[in-house]
Symmetry: C2
Subunit: 103 residues, 2 copies
């Protein structure tokens, strides 16, 4: 069992979004991304048969890519990882990403 | 793409935990469980090669099963679904469950 306390995953870095691998098995990868206001995850996709979940823990911004919409705490997009996806932060924003299965 | 607004998943039921299927594909199943104080998910396990994530969105309680510890917003346990797991709520508690791949 892996225990993670998300309230402790609060690091930010000025040059690019802070990224931390929280869990990694063949079934599931979980990553934290913390964005300073203005930082972004560029729109991208992967040619794989996996599902990706983008879950906003804190802050405000917008989902970019194939499914543009505003993003705030509690918002969650789940899609095939082949669908273009990305995120732009308007405030400090904490994002949790689940990839299943692992690419 | 499936969009879910977790701030709207706030239903509780007096007789047993409220349960809502939020997403379901071969790769990933996502479920919300909302507990009134005192309600619980009994310790259980499944004989499958999947990983289960228990993530507390709100409230306080305890993880039961093989890995007992206190549970509060931001706490996340990830384990093989064959490992006994459960949850007991001390206050109103909202839990998010990810199962990958789907059983």
């Amino acid at each position: 069992m892996k225990f993670i306390d998300l309230t402790q995953v609060t690091k930010f870095t000025p040059d690019k979004p802070f990224r931390e691998l929280l869990y990694d098995s063949a079934n599931l990868r979980v990553l934290a991304f913390n964005f300073e206001a203005g930082q972004e995850m560029p729109v991208h996709s992967h040619p794989a048969d996996s599902d990706v979940t983008l879950m906003i823990l804190e802050g405000e911004g917008e989902f970019t890519g194939a499914n543009e919409m505003s993003a705030r705490a509690g918002a969650m997009q789940i899609m095939p990882v082949g669908e273009p996806h990305g995120l732009k932060a308007h405030t400090r924003l904490r994002l949790l990403v689940f990839i299943a299965p692992t690419l």
